[in-house]
């Protein structure tokens, strides 16, 4: 584990606009501030939306951008933590995998699965054309 100082938070005060006295802002603010700016590029929301396959209008992109930037900036505080030689944990690891044998089984409510398909014809799930013009 790194030194205690290295574990303190970095946060930009303007990121937090708490209005209520009960807000636990000290968990975010009442620590030593790190001003080290992340060298990472700010998120390009239009491109992210395309990657995530969510159609956003330019106006929606504009609305999301500052909010996402604010949170991503807040994520950035982990850059200041000394994590050298610490192994990442993919989950809580309370127990190893209990994989079942890799044998196919038959689901007994097949009709209900098919009934849930929004666009179904004969034995096919119907989708618009997959290939682009070019």
């Amino acid at each position: 584990m790194g030194s205690r100082a290295a574990l303190f938070l970095r946060a930009n005060p303007p990121l937090f606009s708490f209005r209520h006295s009960a807000n636990p802002k000290s968990f975010l603010l009442n620590k030593r501030f790190y001003t080290a700016k992340s060298s990472l590029e700010a998120p390009d929301v239009a491109r992210l939306a395309q990657t995530a396959r969510i159609s956003l209008t330019p106006k929606q992109v504009e609305e999301f951008a500052p909010k996402i930037r604010q949170v991503v900036d807040w994520f950035g505080q982990l850059q200041a933590v000394d994590l050298q030689s610490i192994e990442p944990a993919i989950r809580a690891d309370t127990e190893g995998d209990n994989l079942r044998d890799d044998v196919p089984g038959v689901f007994d409510n097949r009709d209900a699965i098919i009934a849930a398909v929004p666009n179904y014809e004969d034995t096919y799930i119907k989708v618009p054309k997959v290939l682009n013009k070019e």
Binding site: N23, T94, A112
Partner: protein, 541 residues
Amino acid sequence: MLSSAQAPRLLRSPAAATTTAAALTIKCLHTSPILTPAATSPSPSQILTTRKSLLSRQTSAVDLAKSFLQRLRRHEPQLSSFLYVSPDDVVLKQAEELDTKIKNNEEVGPLAGVLVGVKDNICTYDMPSTAGSRILENYRPPFDATAVRKLRDSGAIVVGKTNLDEFGMGSTTEGSAYQVTANPWDLSRVPGGSSGGSAAAVSARQCMVALGSDTGGSVRQPASFCGVVGLKPTYGRVSRYGLVAYASSLDVIGCFGSSVADAGILLHSISGFDNFDATSSKQEVPDYASQFVALEYLESKPLKGLRVGVIHETLENGVDSEVISSVRGAVSHLEELGCTVSEVSLPSFSLGLPAYYILASSESSSNLSRYDGVRFGNQVFGEELNSLYGDSRAEGLGSEVKMRILMGTYALSAGYYDAYYKRAQQVRTIIRNSFKDALEKNDILISPAAPSVAYKIGEKKNDPLAMYAGDIMTVNVNLAGLPALVLPCGFDGGSAGLPVGFQMIGAAFDEEKLLKIGHIFEQTLPGYSFVPPLVADEWTG
């Protein structure tokens, strides 16, 4: 389930419990003043009371179901805790079948006649399961979640599906695509979230117990806000099969009850290994209820020798002073019960919050890619496939969900993975280790369940970081995969105020200890009734 060593108090009908509680006061006074039963009778187990009165034919499952359905419907217009309520005839038919079995002296399950609410991100084959999202509006899964199947096999009756923040992403239940749930203690306030519907429903006695899910505190924080017991089991204790995935490395199904006993009995019935969830554990499931000790059998210092560590970082500035004093009061009560209390420092505690949000967003961006409008859910048909995906997701997903998917997509993109996702996983290792150290020196750890009591509807709606900050007390426990029990311990502003809950964190798979301590705690905590005024007049349980 009912062993002969069972607490006799729990086997009594509610009417009998009152008189005996008075008798117990006299009996216990000479041993120790702290063992005086609460001025208002301690929360009896609704599950055990139901079982006793059904088997002794004092009441019928049909009558019981009718009275709950009536109360559910009476308060539903004010509370909006349910997204779907099972039709009366469907519920009553199941109750009738139980009554017939009891009449014929056939065996009935341990949860016979127990009326359960199920969070709407847990699949039920006979009811819609929307996860609070438009993209799954009217969706009926072709199967029951394992936890639901186990409940039904134990004789429980599912009364309906409870409201939640869309896909579990939120801390107020305002993020539901359908309705905003009100807190039964103050209708202008949030019930917490994301399992706010389940917490409100149990609090207002619309059902006896409920299932929720907890990815970063979604069972424990609403339990605290609504004055009920909330139990987050160890990761792997309960199968996640049929739980709509949000962040698979953190998600667990959890339990709500109006007493520790109910939460424990509910957990027992849904726990265990499941072939359909490779992360479910093969560890034996103890009969939690058999560990409960009734008030009259308690020694003067029933928790003698138990080491309790109070997490220093959770009682600092930024936490409501009323919350701090209630939790300190709970700690003194544990001390009076014989516990040895010390303070523990977890310096990495505050790092859990950003690490949690990075991991949860990243996992959600992957998990929620399945909602593309092709195989199930709502579809916006388009000219070509990509616009079908994009438009279906744009129409069907709410803004908080979109935001988390976009943040997760960013954190996982090439070149950023090491800076965000991997770092967050390293922080998870630090947090896991620090809990492990602290739990080697202590039997349980204590913190508030949330930094504040329930706040006003709308107060944090447009300020994501303010809402995220409210999860500080709970997210670390998910990162470490540990079990935690939240139970009410006091009120903000005296007995007329809002309930405050405190959190007990245990070692992995040590739910038994948490429940045993919690059961003693709630029986001996003096002076509080955690039935909201809204239903106090009509509730005799």
